[in-house]
C-alpha cells in the first residue's frame, strides 16, 4: 500500500484502553453477579446474612446495584464507547492521558464504593447511595471522560456523526446533569451528608434521577453500542438508518418526564402522577423503534445465528429490551402500578432488562471484541453456545419467578374478604408464600453466573493463546475530514468554546440550585393543619442508623390511598409527614411491611427483640439479625452538627436543641433504655445504636401535631 502520499496518513487507535475496560468489566461483573446471587440466597435463606453487618442484605443490596450498574455496565459502556467511537470518528482518542485517568479514576470510585457501602456509608438514594466525596469524584471523572470524548469528536475525520455517537453524547450530557442535580447535598462529616431536598421534593428529584439513570445509563449508551456492534457482527447495515435517527431524537426530546411513574399512588400530586404515566406510555414507541431496527437488521441473515453464534446474544438482548420497554409503560399505568408497586414484579422487570438487555448485549460485545483486540480466534464457540443457553435459562427463571412472586404478593396484599377485612392480615403470610420463588430466582441467578464464568474461562483461554507481541495495525485515513488549514484556529476556539459552554452550563446549574435551596422548604405548600414536628436528636440519630443498615431496601414508608393498604397500615401518607425527611424514605420495595405508621404500635421491647432476632417475634421472618446494634455506640456528638445542617436547610429546630443535641438525645435514650430494662432487656443499652433506632421507629407516623 502506498502511504507516502502526504494526503493519507497512518493513525493508530488506542485499543489498550479498550482492553483495560473489558477486563475491568469482567472482574466487576463477577463481583456484581456474586453479590446478586448472595443477596438472592439471603432472601431465600436468611442465615446467609451470617450476622455480619458488612454483608447483611440491607448493605449488600446497594453494593450489588452499584456494582451492576456502575462497575459492570459502566465499564462495559466505556469499553464499547472507546472502541467504537474511535472507529466511527476515524480518530484516536484525544488524549491517552485522559483515557487512563478516566479508567483508573473510575476503578478507584468502584473500589471506594466497595469499601464504603458495606460499612454503611450510604445516602439511601437508589443508584446514588455513594456518599459525597465519591459523588465529587464521580463528577470529576465524568468531566474527564466528557472532555476526552468531545475533543475526539472535534478532531474527527469522519464528518458524519453516526447515530451511535449521538447516543453517547446524550448519555454523557444527561448523566452529568442528573448526577449533579441529584447529588446536591450538605456534608456533615467525611462520609455523611444530607440532600438539600426533603420529603416529596427529594422523592421527585430522586426518581427523576433514578428513572433517567436507567434511561441514559442503561439504555441510550447500550442502544448506541447496539447500533454499532450488531451491524458489525452481522456485516449488514442497520435496517433503517432513518428510523434510528428519528427514534433517537424522539427519545431525547421527551424521555425526561417519565420519572414520576415510580411514584404512582404516593403522596405525589395526582397531576404529576398522570404526567409520568402518560409520558411513560408515549415512550414505548421510540423504544420499540430501536428494537425493531436492531432485529430487522438481521433480516435475511438469520443463517448467521448458526455461523456467528455471538449474534444470538444480540438477538436475545434486543428481545428483552423490547419486553422491558413494553412492560415499563404497562407498569406505569396507575391501575397496574397499584398492583405491582413494591412487589417483586418490579424486581423481575429490572432484571429482565439488566440481565437480558444490558447483560447479554455486553456479553455479545465482549465475544465480538476479545478475539479482535487480541488478534486471535475465540477459544471455544461451543462454550459460547453453552453460555448463551444456560444464561438465557437463568434470565427466564429469574424473570418468571419474580413476576409470579410479585403478582402473588400484590394480589394477596389487596385481598379483602366479603366482610371487608384483609384476607391476609399478617404480612408474613405473603412472605412465606413467595419464598419458594426466591429459591427459583436464586437458581436463575446461579445459572446466569455460571454462564458468565464460562465466558470468563473462554476469554481467558482466548487471551492465553493470543500472539504475544502484535504489531499495532495502522489505519489509513485521509489527513483531514475538513478544511483544516483555514479552519484550524477557528476549530480550536470552537472546541474550547464547546467545552467551556458545557462547563459553564454545569456551573450555572449548580449555582441556581444552591440559590434555590433555601426556598425549598415546603412551608408555603403545606397545610398549616398538617405540619409535623421535626425529629428529635435521638430520632434523627436512629434515622441515620436506619439508613445505614439499609432498612429502606425492604421496608417502605409510604401508605398509598388504596383501600386494602389503608386497612393494613393506617391512613394514607400525607406530603407533610415526610416534609423534613432528608433523604426521603418512602422506599420502593416491601419485602417486609410498610412502616409509615409503625410508631407506638409495638412496645420498645418488641422492637428490641425484633432487631436482635426477628424470628423471636415473627417465627417465619426472613429478616436478618442485627446484634451489632446492641454493641455499637451511637455517635451523640455529631448530632450537633447534624441538627445545625438540618436547621440551615430549613428544619425548625430551636437553638437550644441544636446546641445541646447530644444531651437531649442521651436523655431520651436513657428513658428508652430504662423502659427496656424494666421489661427484661439487658442493662446498659442507653448509649447503643439500638436505642436510637427504637426511638426513630417509634416516631414513625407520630410526628403530626394533629392525628
Amino acid at each position: 500500500m502506498k502511504t507516502t502520499g502526504n494526503l493519507i496518513e497512518k493513525i493508530y487507535y488506542d485499543d489498550d484502553i479498550v482492553k483495560k475496560f473489558i477486563l475491568a468489566t469482567l472482574i466487576w461483573a463477577g463481583a456484581a453477579f456474586l453479590f446478586g446471587l448472595l443477596a438472592a440466597l439471603q432472601l431465600a435463606y436468611w442465615p446467609l446474612n451470617a450476622n455480619m453487618e458488612w454483608i447483611t442484605f440491607g448493605r449488600l443490596r446497594p453494593l450489588h446495584t452499584n456494582a451492576a450498574i456502575f462497575a459492570f455496565a459502566g465499564n462495559a459502556i466505556f469499553a464499547g464507547i472507546y472502541h467504537s467511537s474511535q472507529r466511527l470518528l476515524k480518530a484516536r482518542m484525544f488524549s491517552d492521558l485522559l483515557s487512563k485517568m478516566h479508567f483508573w479514576g473510575w476503578q478507584l470510585i468502584i473500589l471506594s464504593a466497595a469499601i464504603t457501602l458495606p460499612l454503611g456509608y450510604s445516602q439511601s438514594k437508589e443508584y446514588a447511595e455513594l456518599e459525597w466525596p465519591i459523588d465529587i469524584a464521580i463528577t470529576v471523572v465524568w468531566v474527564i471522560f466528557a472532555l476526552n470524548f468531545f475533543m475526539t469528536i472535534r478532531k474527527r475525520r469522519e464528518k458524519h456523526m453516526y447515530v451511535a455517537i449521538w447516543f453517547y453524547i446524550a448519555t454523557i450530557i444527561t448523566v452529568a446533569v442528573l448526577h449533579i442535580i441529584n447529588s446536591i447535598e450538605i456534608p456533615v462529616s467525611l462520609f455523611k451528608s444530607y440532600p438539600v431536598y426533603a420529603g416529596i421534593q427529594d422523592a421527585m428529584v430522586q426518581w427523576w434521577y433514578g428513572h433517567n439513570a436507567v434511561a441514559f445509563f442503561l439504555t441510550t449508551p447500550f442502544l448506541g453500542l447496539m447500533y454499532y456492534y450488531v451491524p458489525k457482527a452481522a456485516n449488514r447495515p442497520v435496517y433503517s438508518y432513518r428510523l434510528s435517527i428519528v427514534h433517537f431524537w424522539a427519545l431525547v426530546f421527551i424521555y425526561i418526564w417519565a420519572g414520576p411513574h415510580h411514584l404512582l399512588y404516593t403522596s405525589l400530586p395526582e397531576w404529576a402522577q398522570t404526567l409520568g404515566m402518560i409520558f411513560s406510555i408515549m415512550l414505548w414507541a421510540p423504544s420499540w423503534g430501536g428494537m425493531i431496527n436492531g432485529l430487522l437488521t438481521l433480516k435475511g441473515s438469520w443463517h448467521l445465528l448458526r455461523t456467528e453464534p455471538l449474534i444470538k446474544f444480540f438477538v436475545a438482548a434486543l428481545t428483552f429490551y423490547g419486553m422491558s420497554t413494553f412492560e415499563g409503560p404497562l407498569l406505569s399505568i396507575k391501575s397496574v402500578s397499584a398492583l405491582g408497586h413494591y412487589t417483586d414484579w418490579i424486581i423481575g422487570h429490572v432484571h429482565s432488562g439488566a440481565l437480558g438487555w444490558n447483560g447479554f448485549l455486553t456479553f455479545g460485545m465482549i465475544y465480538y471484541l476479545v478475539p479482535r483486540l487480541w488478534k486471535t480466534e475465540l477459544y471455544s464457540k461451543k462454550l459460547l453456545e453453552n453460555h448463551f443457553w444456560i444464561g438465557l435459562t437463568g434470565v427466564l427463571l429469574y424473570y418468571i419467578s419474580m413476576v409470579v412472586a410479585g403478582i402473588t404478593q400484590g394480589l394477596m396484599w389487596r385481598a379483602v374478604d366479603a366482610d371487608g377485612s384483609l384476607t391476609y392480615p399478617d404480612f408474613i403470610e405473603t412472605v412465606v408464600r413467595i419464598v419458594p420463588l426466591y429459591w427459583v430466582r436464586a437458581v436463575g441467578g446461579f445459572l446466569f453466573l455460571t454462564g458468565f464464568l464460562m465466558m470468563c474461562y473462554n476469554v481467558f483461554k482466548t487471551i492465553q493463546k493470543a500472539p504475544k507481541t502484535v504489531e499495532a495495525k495502522e489505519v489509513l485515513v485521509e489527513r483531514t475530514g475538513f478544511d483544516e488549514v483555514t479552519k484550524e484556529t477557528h476549530r480550536k476556539l470552537e472546541g474550547m468554546g464547546m467545552v467551556f459552554s458545557v462547563l459553564a452550563f454545569l456551573a450555572i446549574a449548580v449555582g441556581s440550585v444552591i440559590e434555590i435551596y433555601p426556598t425549598l422548604s415546603l412551608h408555603k405548600y403545606v397545610s398549616p393543619n398538617n405540619i409535623v414536628d421535626p425529629y428529635t436528636p435521638l430520632e434523627l440519630a436512629g434515622r441515620d442508623i436506619y439508613i445505614k443498615e439499609g432498612c429502606y431496601v425492604c421496608h417502605s414508608q409510604q401508605i398509598r390511598p388504596i383501600a386494602s393498604e389503608v386497612l393494613r397500615y393506617g391512613n394514607a401518607s400525607t406530603v407533610e409527614e415526610s416534609m423534613y425527611d432528608r433523604p426521603f424514605q418512602w422506599g420502593s420495595k416491601r419485602t417486609g411491611p410498610d412502616l409509615a405508621r409503625l410508631g407506638k404500635k409495638y412496645p420498645n421491647l418488641w422492637h428490641y427483640s425484633h432487631m436482635m432476632d426477628p424470628r423471636a417475634v415473627t417465627p417465619k421472618s426472613i429478616m436478618p439479625n442485627y446484634p451489632w446494634l446492641a454493641e455499637k455506640d451511637t455517635d451523640f456528638l455529631v448530632l450537633r452538627k447534624k441538627l445545625s445542617v438540618m436547621s440551615e436547610l430549613g428544619v425548625p429546630y430551636e437553638q437550644d436543641v441544636i446546641a445541646n443535641a447530644d444531651i437531649h438525645a442521651q436523655k431520651q435514650a436513657q428513658e428508652i433504655a430504662a423502659d427496656l430494662e424494666s421489661n427484661g432487656a439487658p442493662k446498659g443499652l442507653a448509649k447503643k445504636e439500638i436505642i436510637a433506632l427504637i426511638a426513630y421507629l417509634q416516631s414513625l407516623g407520630q410526628k403530626g401535631k394533629v392525628q
Binding site: 472507529r87 466511527l88 421534593q201 441556581s512
Partner: protein
Amino acid sequence: MNILTLMIPMALLLGIGFVSAFLWATSKGQFDDLETPAHRILNDDNERKHS
C-alpha cells in the same frame, strides 16, 4: 412542589440544548445522507474477517 422551580427549567434547558444540537447538526448537513453511513461503518481496516 417548589422542586418544580428547579426541575422545569432544568428539563427545558436540557431539551433546548438537544434541539439546538439538532438544528446545528442539520445546518452542518448531518442529516443530508441517511443511507450511506449505515454502510460506511461496516468497513474498518482492523476488523475484517480472515478467510
